[in-house]
Protein backbone atom coordinates (compact mmCIF):
# COMPACT_ATOMS: atom_id res chain seq x y z
CA UNK A 1 0.00 0.00 0.00
CA UNK A 2 0.95 3.66 -0.21
CA UNK A 3 1.87 5.19 3.13
CA UNK A 4 3.68 8.20 4.46
CA UNK A 5 7.19 7.12 5.53
CA UNK A 6 9.30 9.15 7.96
CA UNK A 7 12.97 9.25 6.91
CA UNK A 8 14.30 11.79 9.45
CA UNK A 9 13.71 15.39 10.51
CA UNK A 10 12.18 17.39 7.62
CA UNK A 11 12.20 14.29 5.36
CA UNK A 12 9.15 12.19 4.56
CA UNK A 13 8.04 10.35 1.44
CA UNK A 14 5.14 8.37 0.06
CA UNK A 15 6.25 4.77 0.28
CA UNK A 16 4.48 2.62 -2.33
CA UNK A 17 5.57 -0.72 -0.91
CA UNK A 18 4.59 -0.59 2.75
CA UNK A 19 3.03 -3.94 3.74
CA UNK A 20 -0.71 -3.81 4.45
CA UNK A 21 -1.55 -3.91 8.17
CA UNK A 22 -2.92 -7.14 9.62
CA UNK A 23 -5.12 -8.05 12.59
CA UNK A 24 -2.78 -8.55 15.56
CA UNK A 25 -5.32 -8.70 18.40
CA UNK A 26 -8.92 -9.97 18.60
CA UNK A 27 -10.16 -6.43 19.25
CA UNK A 28 -8.46 -4.95 16.14
CA UNK A 29 -10.04 -3.71 12.93
CA UNK A 30 -8.42 -2.81 9.63
CA UNK A 31 -9.68 0.43 8.13
CA UNK A 32 -9.31 1.70 4.55
CA UNK A 33 -8.54 5.38 5.01
CA UNK A 34 -10.78 7.90 3.25
CA UNK A 35 -9.44 11.12 4.80
CA UNK A 36 -6.43 11.86 6.99
CA UNK A 37 -5.14 15.18 8.24
CA UNK A 38 -1.74 16.57 9.04
CA UNK A 39 -1.99 17.88 12.60
CA UNK A 40 0.07 20.76 13.96
CA UNK A 41 1.47 18.26 16.46
CA UNK A 42 2.66 16.08 13.55
CA UNK A 43 5.06 18.91 12.83
CA UNK A 44 6.79 18.28 16.18
CA UNK A 45 7.55 14.76 14.91
CA UNK A 46 8.48 16.06 11.45
CA UNK A 47 10.89 18.56 13.01
CA UNK A 48 12.57 15.84 15.10
CA UNK A 49 11.45 17.14 18.50
CA UNK A 50 9.74 14.01 19.86
CA UNK A 51 12.11 11.32 21.21
CA UNK A 52 11.84 7.78 19.79
CA UNK A 53 10.48 8.80 16.41
CA UNK A 54 11.87 5.97 14.31
CA UNK A 55 12.69 5.98 10.63
CA UNK A 56 10.12 4.00 8.67
CA UNK A 57 7.08 4.83 10.78
CA UNK A 58 3.88 6.30 9.36
CA UNK A 59 2.34 9.35 11.03
CA UNK A 60 -1.30 10.35 11.16
CA UNK A 61 -3.69 10.39 14.11
CA UNK A 62 -6.65 12.15 12.49
CA UNK A 63 -8.48 9.92 10.01
CA UNK A 64 -11.72 8.44 8.81
CA UNK A 65 -12.13 5.21 6.89
CA UNK A 66 -14.14 2.20 5.91
CA UNK A 67 -13.86 -0.99 7.98
CA UNK A 68 -12.51 -3.78 5.75
CA UNK A 69 -11.70 -6.44 8.35
CA UNK A 70 -12.54 -7.04 12.01
CA UNK A 71 -10.96 -9.16 14.75
CA UNK A 72 -12.78 -12.12 16.31
CA UNK A 73 -13.99 -10.17 19.39
CA UNK A 74 -15.42 -7.12 17.61
CA UNK A 75 -19.15 -6.67 18.24
CA UNK A 76 -19.98 -3.02 17.48
CA UNK A 77 -18.45 -2.65 14.02
CA UNK A 78 -18.91 -4.58 10.78
CA UNK A 79 -17.16 -4.61 7.43
CA UNK A 80 -18.35 -1.67 5.35
CA UNK A 81 -18.98 0.72 8.26
CA UNK A 82 -17.57 4.19 7.64
CA UNK A 83 -15.97 5.35 10.88
CA UNK A 84 -14.20 8.30 12.39
CA UNK A 85 -11.35 7.18 14.62
CA UNK A 86 -10.37 9.23 17.71
CA UNK A 87 -6.63 9.85 17.94
CA UNK A 88 -6.48 8.20 21.39
CA UNK A 89 -6.20 4.41 21.51
CA UNK A 90 -8.31 3.42 24.51
CA UNK A 91 -9.08 0.00 25.98
CA UNK A 92 -12.26 1.10 27.75
CA UNK A 93 -11.64 -1.06 30.84
CA UNK A 94 -8.62 0.34 32.70
CA UNK A 95 -9.41 2.73 35.60
CA UNK A 96 -8.52 5.75 33.45
CA UNK A 97 -10.78 4.79 30.53
CA UNK A 98 -13.58 3.87 32.94
CA UNK A 99 -13.42 7.42 34.27
CA UNK A 100 -13.59 8.80 30.69
CA UNK A 101 -9.91 9.72 30.57
CA UNK A 102 -9.65 8.08 27.14
CA UNK A 103 -6.47 10.01 26.39
CA UNK A 104 -4.75 8.38 29.36
CA UNK A 105 -5.39 4.67 28.69
CA UNK A 106 -3.03 2.37 30.58
CA UNK A 107 -3.27 -0.58 28.16
CA UNK A 108 -2.23 0.93 24.83
CA UNK A 109 1.33 2.20 25.22
CA UNK A 110 4.12 0.03 26.65
CA UNK A 111 6.86 2.57 25.92
CA UNK A 112 5.70 5.35 28.26
CA UNK A 113 3.33 5.54 31.19
CA UNK A 114 2.87 9.29 30.91
CA UNK A 115 0.86 9.11 27.71
CA UNK A 116 -1.70 6.71 26.28
CA UNK A 117 -1.39 5.16 22.84
CA UNK A 118 -1.80 7.51 19.89
CA UNK A 119 -1.92 6.52 16.23
CA UNK A 120 1.22 7.41 14.30
CA UNK A 121 2.81 9.46 17.03
CA UNK A 122 6.24 7.91 17.64
CA UNK A 123 7.17 4.99 19.86
CA UNK A 124 6.84 7.29 22.84
CA UNK A 125 3.10 7.05 22.15
CA UNK A 126 3.04 3.30 21.50
CA UNK A 127 4.76 2.70 18.15
CA UNK A 128 1.54 2.44 16.14
CA UNK A 129 1.54 3.23 12.45
CA UNK A 130 -0.87 6.04 11.67
CA UNK A 131 -3.56 6.94 9.18
CA UNK A 132 -1.54 8.80 6.56
CA UNK A 133 -1.77 5.62 4.54
CA UNK A 134 -4.24 3.61 2.50
CA UNK A 135 -4.92 1.19 5.36
CA UNK A 136 -4.42 1.31 9.10
CA UNK A 137 -4.72 -1.10 12.00
CA UNK A 138 -7.14 0.17 14.65
CA UNK A 139 -6.75 -1.51 18.08
CA UNK A 140 -9.69 -1.66 20.52
CA UNK A 141 -11.98 -0.96 17.59
CA UNK A 142 -15.13 -1.49 19.66
CA UNK A 143 -14.15 1.35 22.00
CA UNK A 144 -12.87 4.37 20.05
CA UNK A 145 -14.24 4.42 16.49
CA UNK A 146 -17.70 5.80 15.82
CA UNK A 147 -19.83 5.07 12.76
CA UNK A 148 -20.20 8.39 10.96
CA UNK A 149 -23.84 9.53 11.06
CA UNK A 150 -25.24 9.82 7.50
CA UNK A 151 -25.98 13.53 7.88
CA UNK A 152 -22.42 14.38 8.92
CA UNK A 153 -20.06 15.71 6.25
CA UNK A 154 -16.91 13.60 5.88
CA UNK A 155 -14.69 16.68 6.22
CA UNK A 156 -16.39 17.58 9.50
CA UNK A 157 -16.07 13.95 10.63
CA UNK A 158 -12.29 13.83 10.14
CA UNK A 159 -11.88 17.05 12.12
CA UNK A 160 -13.84 15.48 14.98
CA UNK A 161 -11.02 12.98 15.52
CA UNK A 162 -8.77 15.60 17.15
CA UNK A 163 -8.93 19.30 16.22
CA UNK A 164 -12.48 20.04 17.31
CA UNK A 165 -12.45 18.04 20.56
CA UNK A 166 -9.01 19.37 21.49
CA UNK A 167 -10.10 22.97 20.88
CA UNK A 168 -13.35 22.37 22.74
CA UNK A 169 -11.64 20.70 25.69
CA UNK A 170 -9.16 23.58 25.88
CA UNK A 171 -12.08 25.92 26.47
CA UNK A 172 -13.83 23.42 28.75
CA UNK A 173 -10.75 23.07 30.95
CA UNK A 174 -10.67 26.87 31.23
CA UNK A 175 -13.76 26.66 33.44
CA UNK A 176 -15.03 29.76 31.62
CA UNK A 177 -17.65 31.77 33.49
CA UNK A 178 -20.14 34.08 31.80
CA UNK A 179 -18.40 37.31 30.83
CA UNK A 180 -14.85 35.97 31.22
CA UNK A 181 -12.01 37.29 29.09
CA UNK A 182 -10.28 34.37 27.40
CA UNK A 183 -6.89 34.68 25.73
CA UNK A 184 -5.87 31.95 23.30
CA UNK A 185 -2.19 31.69 22.38
CA UNK A 186 -1.79 30.22 18.89
CA UNK A 187 -4.00 30.69 15.84
CA UNK A 188 -3.41 27.23 14.42
CA UNK A 189 -6.41 24.93 13.84
CA UNK A 190 -6.70 23.99 17.54
CA UNK A 191 -6.31 27.57 18.77
CA UNK A 192 -8.89 28.83 16.29
CA UNK A 193 -11.28 26.11 17.43
CA UNK A 194 -10.59 26.89 21.11
CA UNK A 195 -11.42 30.56 20.46
CA UNK A 196 -14.63 29.58 18.67
CA UNK A 197 -15.66 27.16 21.45
CA UNK A 198 -14.94 29.68 24.22
CA UNK A 199 -18.13 31.51 23.21
CA UNK A 200 -20.14 28.32 23.80
CA UNK A 201 -19.14 28.53 27.47
CA UNK A 202 -20.25 32.14 27.79
CA UNK A 203 -17.01 34.07 27.34
CA UNK A 204 -17.48 37.82 27.27
CA UNK A 205 -14.35 38.57 25.27
CA UNK A 206 -12.05 36.28 23.27
CA UNK A 207 -8.57 37.34 22.19
CA UNK A 208 -6.22 35.28 20.00
CA UNK A 209 -2.47 35.88 19.73
CA UNK A 210 -0.16 34.67 16.93
CA UNK A 211 2.54 35.92 14.58
CA UNK A 212 1.00 34.99 11.21
CA UNK A 213 -1.25 37.67 9.75
CA UNK A 214 -3.21 35.35 7.46
CA UNK A 215 -4.10 33.08 10.35
CA UNK A 216 -5.07 35.99 12.58
CA UNK A 217 -7.34 37.34 9.83
CA UNK A 218 -8.94 33.92 9.45
CA UNK A 219 -9.36 33.50 13.23
CA UNK A 220 -10.96 36.92 13.53
CA UNK A 221 -13.51 35.98 10.89
CA UNK A 222 -14.09 32.33 11.83
CA UNK A 223 -14.10 32.67 15.62
CA UNK A 224 -15.46 36.25 15.77
CA UNK A 225 -12.69 37.19 18.17
CA UNK A 226 -10.08 39.90 18.58
CA UNK A 227 -6.76 38.99 16.98
CA UNK A 228 -3.32 40.45 17.67
CA UNK A 229 0.09 39.85 16.16
CA UNK A 230 2.67 39.59 18.96
CA UNK A 231 5.34 40.79 16.51
CA UNK A 232 3.64 44.17 16.56
CA UNK A 233 3.41 44.24 20.36
CA UNK A 234 6.58 45.17 22.21
CA UNK A 235 5.51 43.06 25.19
CA UNK A 236 2.48 40.75 24.73
CA UNK A 237 2.06 40.22 28.50
CA UNK A 238 2.02 43.94 29.19
CA UNK A 239 -0.43 44.47 26.33
CA UNK A 240 -2.79 41.85 27.77
CA UNK A 241 -2.54 43.35 31.24
CA UNK A 242 -3.36 46.82 29.89
CA UNK A 243 -6.28 45.58 27.80
CA UNK A 244 -7.78 43.89 30.87
CA UNK A 245 -7.56 47.03 33.03
CA UNK A 246 -4.23 45.87 34.50
CA UNK A 247 -6.03 42.85 35.98
CA UNK A 248 -5.08 39.95 33.74
CA UNK A 249 -7.19 37.59 31.65
CA UNK A 250 -9.61 35.28 33.45
CA UNK A 251 -8.52 32.30 31.38
CA UNK A 252 -5.45 31.73 29.21
CA UNK A 253 -5.20 28.82 26.77
CA UNK A 254 -1.88 27.51 25.44
CA UNK A 255 -2.69 26.10 22.02
CA UNK A 256 0.88 26.34 20.73
CA UNK A 257 3.05 23.86 22.58
CA UNK A 258 6.70 23.15 22.01
CA UNK A 259 7.42 25.18 18.86
CA UNK A 260 6.44 28.62 20.07
CA UNK A 261 8.22 31.65 18.62
CA UNK A 262 8.69 34.98 20.38
CA UNK A 263 11.61 34.39 22.75
CA UNK A 264 15.20 33.94 21.60
CA UNK A 265 16.19 32.15 24.81
CA UNK A 266 13.29 29.70 24.56
CA UNK A 267 13.90 29.14 20.84
CA UNK A 268 17.59 28.37 21.28
CA UNK A 269 17.20 26.15 24.32
CA UNK A 270 13.94 24.52 23.27
CA UNK A 271 13.96 24.18 19.52
CA UNK A 272 17.56 24.44 18.36
CA UNK A 273 19.56 22.67 21.07
CA UNK A 274 16.79 20.58 22.72
CA UNK A 275 18.06 21.52 26.19
CA UNK A 276 14.40 21.70 27.18
CA UNK A 277 11.34 19.90 25.83
CA UNK A 278 10.57 22.55 23.24
CA UNK A 279 10.10 26.28 23.46
CA UNK A 280 7.63 27.19 26.19
CA UNK A 281 7.11 30.85 25.24
CA UNK A 282 3.32 30.59 24.91
CA UNK A 283 2.98 28.90 28.29
CA UNK A 284 5.28 31.50 29.82
CA UNK A 285 3.08 34.28 28.46
CA UNK A 286 -0.11 32.47 29.54
CA UNK A 287 1.07 32.16 33.16
CA UNK A 288 2.15 35.79 33.26
CA UNK A 289 -0.98 37.16 31.51
CA UNK A 290 -3.65 35.39 33.54
CA UNK A 291 -5.17 37.07 36.59
CA UNK A 292 -4.48 35.99 40.16
CA UNK A 293 -6.57 32.92 40.85
CA UNK A 294 -7.06 32.48 37.11
CA UNK A 295 -6.93 29.34 35.04
CA UNK A 296 -4.36 28.28 32.46
CA UNK A 297 -5.52 25.53 30.14
CA UNK A 298 -2.83 23.67 28.18
CA UNK A 299 -3.48 21.60 25.06
CA UNK A 300 -0.25 22.48 23.25
CA UNK A 301 2.04 19.47 22.97
CA UNK A 302 5.35 19.41 24.85
CA UNK A 303 8.08 16.80 25.00
CA UNK A 304 8.69 14.62 28.05
CA UNK A 305 11.83 16.15 29.58
CA UNK A 306 11.09 19.56 31.08
CA UNK A 307 10.55 23.24 30.33
CA UNK A 308 11.52 26.68 31.57
CA UNK A 309 8.32 28.19 32.92
CA UNK A 310 7.74 30.66 35.81
CA UNK A 311 6.39 28.11 38.28
CA UNK A 312 6.93 30.60 41.11
CA UNK A 313 4.32 32.87 39.53
CA UNK A 314 1.92 29.92 39.34
CA UNK A 315 2.22 29.52 43.10
CA UNK A 316 2.20 33.20 44.03
CA UNK A 317 -0.76 34.04 41.75
CA UNK A 318 -2.72 30.97 42.82
CA UNK A 319 -3.14 29.84 39.25
CA UNK A 320 -4.93 26.60 38.45
CA UNK A 321 -3.31 24.73 35.59
CA UNK A 322 -5.51 22.25 33.73
CA UNK A 323 -4.16 20.12 30.92
CA UNK A 324 -4.73 16.87 29.09
CA UNK A 325 -4.93 15.20 25.74
CA UNK A 326 -8.51 15.57 24.54
CA UNK A 327 -10.87 12.79 25.54
CA UNK A 328 -12.36 12.51 22.06
CA UNK A 329 -14.85 9.73 22.72
CA UNK A 330 -16.36 11.59 25.69
CA UNK A 331 -16.94 14.75 23.66
CA UNK A 332 -18.17 13.35 20.32
CA UNK A 333 -21.94 13.27 20.99
CA UNK A 334 -21.98 16.88 22.20
CA UNK A 335 -19.78 18.14 19.35
CA UNK A 336 -21.86 16.41 16.68
CA UNK A 337 -24.91 18.20 18.10
CA UNK A 338 -23.07 21.53 17.87
CA UNK A 339 -22.24 20.83 14.22
CA UNK A 340 -25.82 19.77 13.41
CA UNK A 341 -27.13 22.95 15.04
CA UNK A 342 -24.70 25.08 13.02
CA UNK A 343 -22.90 26.34 16.12
CA UNK A 344 -19.64 24.84 14.83
CA UNK A 345 -18.60 24.46 11.19
CA UNK A 346 -15.16 22.81 11.39
CA UNK A 347 -14.63 22.09 7.69
CA UNK A 348 -14.21 25.82 7.01
CA UNK A 349 -10.66 25.56 8.38
CA UNK A 350 -9.55 23.17 5.61
CA UNK A 351 -7.36 25.04 3.16
CA UNK A 352 -5.50 22.25 1.35
CA UNK A 353 -6.50 18.87 -0.11
CA UNK A 354 -3.47 16.93 -1.22
CA UNK A 355 -3.11 13.44 -2.75
CA UNK A 356 -1.37 11.10 -0.30
CA UNK A 357 1.33 10.55 -2.94
CA UNK A 358 2.38 14.21 -2.49
CA UNK A 359 2.81 13.94 1.27
CA UNK A 360 6.37 15.41 1.19
CA UNK A 361 5.11 18.65 -0.32
CA UNK A 362 2.10 18.69 2.02
CA UNK A 363 4.33 18.54 5.10
CA UNK A 364 6.64 21.21 3.75
CA UNK A 365 3.75 23.56 2.95
CA UNK A 366 2.26 23.13 6.44
CA UNK A 367 5.62 23.38 8.20
CA UNK A 368 6.70 26.52 6.32
CA UNK A 369 3.18 28.04 6.42
CA UNK A 370 3.22 28.46 2.64
CA UNK A 371 0.18 29.29 0.51
CA UNK A 372 -1.78 30.53 3.59
CA UNK A 373 -2.03 26.98 4.87
CA UNK A 374 -4.20 26.33 7.91
CA UNK A 375 -5.33 22.71 7.65
CA UNK A 376 -4.28 20.04 5.18
CA UNK A 377 -6.19 16.88 4.32
CA UNK A 378 -4.46 13.96 2.62
CA UNK A 379 -6.59 11.80 0.35
CA UNK A 380 -5.42 8.29 -0.60
CA UNK A 381 -5.89 7.16 -4.20
CA UNK A 382 -8.60 4.63 -3.32
CA UNK A 383 -10.68 7.40 -1.75
CA UNK A 384 -10.41 9.55 -4.86
CA UNK A 385 -11.78 6.90 -7.21
Amino acid sequence: MIAMNFRGPFRVRADRNKPDPVIEHPEDAIVRVTRSCICGSDLHLYHGLVPDTRVGTTFGHEFTGEVVEVGSSIKNLKVGDHVLVPFNIACGVCPFCKQELYGNCHESNPEATAVGGIFGYSHTAGGFDGGQAEYVRVPFADVGPMVIPPDLDLDDAVLLTDVVPTGYQAAEMGGIKEGDTVVVFGAGPVGIMAAKCSWLFGAGRVIIIDQLEYRLEFAQRFAQCEAYNFRSLSDPVLFLKKTTDYFGADVCIDAVGCEAAGSTLQTITGRKTLLQAGSATALHWAINSVKKGGIVSIVGVYGPTGNLIPIGNVVNKGITIRANQASVKRLLPKLIEHIRAGRLNPKEIITHRVPLEEVSDAYHIFSRKLDNCIKTILIPPSARA
Partner: protein, 169 residues
Amino acid sequence: MKKKPEDYSHIKGWGIDADPENEPTYPIKKYTGDDHQRLSYAKPPQQPSKVEILHSNERPGLTSVFGTSSPPSGLSGLIRRHAFTYSEGNWGHWLSLILADRINVWEGIASDLLHGHIPNIFAERGWNAELKYNKKGAIQKVVTGVLVTTVAAGLLYQLTRKKKKTNWL
Protein backbone atom coordinates in the same frame (compact mmCIF):
# COMPACT_ATOMS: atom_id res chain seq x y z
CA MET B 1 -7.08 -3.05 48.64
CA LYS B 2 -9.21 -0.09 49.72
CA LYS B 3 -9.58 0.25 53.49
CA LYS B 4 -12.91 0.95 55.23
CA PRO B 5 -13.55 4.01 57.45
CA GLU B 6 -13.47 1.81 60.56
CA ASP B 7 -9.87 0.90 59.72
CA TYR B 8 -8.99 4.51 60.53
CA SER B 9 -10.84 4.64 63.84
CA HIS B 10 -7.53 5.23 65.62
CA ILE B 11 -7.13 8.58 63.78
CA LYS B 12 -9.22 11.26 65.42
CA GLY B 13 -11.35 13.14 62.84
CA TRP B 14 -10.49 10.91 59.91
CA GLY B 15 -12.46 12.06 56.84
CA ILE B 16 -14.47 14.68 58.71
CA ASP B 17 -13.72 17.41 56.14
CA ALA B 18 -13.97 15.23 53.06
CA ASP B 19 -16.00 17.07 50.40
CA PRO B 20 -17.16 15.04 47.40
CA GLU B 21 -17.87 18.32 45.58
CA ASN B 22 -14.16 19.25 45.73
CA GLU B 23 -13.29 17.57 42.44
CA PRO B 24 -11.09 19.83 40.33
CA THR B 25 -10.85 17.24 37.57
CA TYR B 26 -14.57 17.65 36.70
CA PRO B 27 -15.81 17.42 33.93
CA ILE B 28 -12.73 15.93 32.35
CA LYS B 29 -12.68 12.96 34.70
CA LYS B 30 -15.79 11.11 35.76
CA TYR B 31 -14.56 10.13 39.22
CA THR B 32 -15.60 6.63 40.22
CA GLY B 33 -12.92 5.62 42.70
CA ASP B 34 -11.61 3.00 40.23
CA ASP B 35 -8.11 4.41 40.73
CA HIS B 36 -7.93 2.51 43.99
CA GLN B 37 -8.00 -0.77 42.08
CA ARG B 38 -4.49 0.10 40.92
CA LEU B 39 -3.49 -2.50 38.30
CA SER B 40 -5.82 -5.25 39.51
CA TYR B 41 -8.55 -4.57 36.90
CA ALA B 42 -9.63 -7.22 34.38
CA LYS B 43 -7.32 -6.61 31.42
CA PRO B 44 -8.14 -7.07 27.75
CA PRO B 45 -6.50 -10.09 26.01
CA GLN B 46 -2.75 -9.75 25.47
CA GLN B 47 -1.48 -9.06 21.93
CA PRO B 48 1.18 -11.66 21.02
CA SER B 49 4.62 -10.13 20.76
CA LYS B 50 6.15 -11.10 17.40
CA VAL B 51 8.79 -8.37 17.25
CA GLU B 52 10.97 -6.79 19.91
CA ILE B 53 8.95 -4.26 21.92
CA LEU B 54 10.69 -2.10 24.49
CA HIS B 55 8.69 -1.12 27.54
CA SER B 56 9.01 1.54 30.18
CA ASN B 57 10.52 0.26 33.43
CA GLU B 58 7.75 2.19 35.18
CA ARG B 59 5.32 -0.59 34.32
CA PRO B 60 5.55 -4.34 35.00
CA GLY B 61 5.32 -5.53 31.39
CA LEU B 62 3.77 -4.85 28.00
CA THR B 63 0.37 -3.25 27.57
CA SER B 64 -2.52 -5.30 26.11
CA VAL B 65 -1.89 -3.78 22.67
CA PHE B 66 1.11 -2.07 21.14
CA GLY B 67 2.40 -0.92 17.79
CA THR B 68 4.75 -3.15 15.86
CA SER B 69 6.20 -0.51 13.55
CA SER B 70 9.99 -0.23 13.13
CA PRO B 71 11.34 -2.52 15.89
CA PRO B 72 14.73 -1.52 17.33
CA SER B 73 17.69 -2.56 15.18
CA GLY B 74 21.33 -1.68 14.49
CA LEU B 75 23.30 0.82 16.54
CA SER B 76 20.22 2.94 17.19
CA GLY B 77 18.50 -0.18 18.53
CA LEU B 78 21.35 -0.78 20.97
CA ILE B 79 21.05 2.78 22.22
CA ARG B 80 17.26 2.50 22.51
CA ARG B 81 17.60 -0.68 24.60
CA HIS B 82 20.02 1.18 26.86
CA ALA B 83 17.61 4.14 27.07
CA PHE B 84 14.87 1.90 28.42
CA THR B 85 17.03 0.93 31.41
CA TYR B 86 16.31 4.46 32.69
CA SER B 87 12.92 5.56 33.98
CA GLU B 88 10.82 8.16 32.17
CA GLY B 89 11.78 10.74 34.77
CA ASN B 90 15.45 10.43 33.88
CA TRP B 91 17.11 12.61 31.23
CA GLY B 92 19.30 9.64 30.28
CA HIS B 93 16.21 7.93 28.93
CA TRP B 94 15.10 10.73 26.61
CA LEU B 95 18.50 12.04 25.51
CA SER B 96 19.58 8.50 24.59
CA LEU B 97 16.43 8.14 22.50
CA ILE B 98 17.10 11.44 20.70
CA LEU B 99 20.67 10.28 19.97
CA ALA B 100 19.29 6.99 18.64
CA ASP B 101 16.83 8.90 16.43
CA ARG B 102 19.66 10.90 14.83
CA ILE B 103 21.75 7.78 14.19
CA ASN B 104 18.65 6.05 12.83
CA VAL B 105 18.46 8.68 10.05
CA TRP B 106 21.87 7.58 8.70
CA GLU B 107 20.87 3.94 9.10
CA GLY B 108 17.80 4.75 7.01
CA ILE B 109 19.91 6.21 4.21
CA ALA B 110 22.25 3.18 4.34
CA SER B 111 19.25 0.84 4.22
CA ASP B 112 17.82 2.67 1.20
CA LEU B 113 21.14 2.36 -0.66
CA LEU B 114 21.51 -1.32 0.27
CA HIS B 115 18.06 -1.94 -1.20
CA GLY B 116 19.05 -0.16 -4.42
CA HIS B 117 17.04 2.97 -3.66
CA ILE B 118 18.77 6.34 -3.89
CA PRO B 119 16.73 8.67 -1.67
CA ASN B 120 15.59 11.82 -3.43
CA ILE B 121 16.30 14.12 -0.51
CA PHE B 122 15.24 17.19 -2.52
CA ALA B 123 11.76 15.72 -3.02
CA GLU B 124 11.57 14.19 0.48
CA ARG B 125 12.14 17.61 2.01
CA GLY B 126 9.27 18.99 -0.06
CA TRP B 127 11.40 21.52 -1.91
CA ASN B 128 9.14 21.19 -4.95
CA ALA B 129 6.51 22.99 -2.87
CA GLU B 130 9.08 25.61 -1.81
CA LEU B 131 9.83 26.30 -5.48
CA LYS B 132 6.15 26.49 -6.30
CA TYR B 133 5.00 28.75 -3.45
CA ASN B 134 8.15 30.57 -2.40
CA LYS B 135 10.39 30.73 -5.48
CA LYS B 136 12.20 33.88 -4.32
CA GLY B 137 12.95 32.40 -0.89
CA ALA B 138 14.11 29.14 -2.44
CA ILE B 139 16.50 30.92 -4.80
CA GLN B 140 17.81 33.02 -1.89
CA LYS B 141 18.45 29.85 0.11
CA VAL B 142 20.30 28.18 -2.78
CA VAL B 143 22.42 31.28 -3.47
CA THR B 144 23.24 31.65 0.25
CA GLY B 145 24.13 27.97 0.46
CA VAL B 146 26.40 28.16 -2.58
CA LEU B 147 28.12 31.32 -1.27
CA VAL B 148 28.68 29.89 2.22
CA THR B 149 30.01 26.63 0.78
CA THR B 150 32.31 28.47 -1.65
CA VAL B 151 33.70 30.74 1.09
CA ALA B 152 34.19 27.80 3.46
CA ALA B 153 35.92 25.73 0.76
CA GLY B 154 38.14 28.71 -0.17
CA LEU B 155 39.17 29.26 3.44
CA LEU B 156 39.88 25.58 3.92
CA TYR B 157 41.98 25.51 0.76
CA GLN B 158 43.99 28.54 1.86
CA LEU B 159 44.64 27.08 5.30
CA THR B 160 45.71 23.73 3.84
CA ARG B 161 48.01 25.46 1.33
CA LYS B 162 49.77 27.53 4.03
CA LYS B 163 50.24 24.44 6.17
CA LYS B 164 51.88 22.58 3.27
CA LYS B 165 54.28 25.49 2.59
CA THR B 166 55.26 25.55 6.27
CA ASN B 167 56.03 21.85 6.12
CA TRP B 168 58.37 22.33 3.14
CA LEU B 169 60.30 24.98 5.00
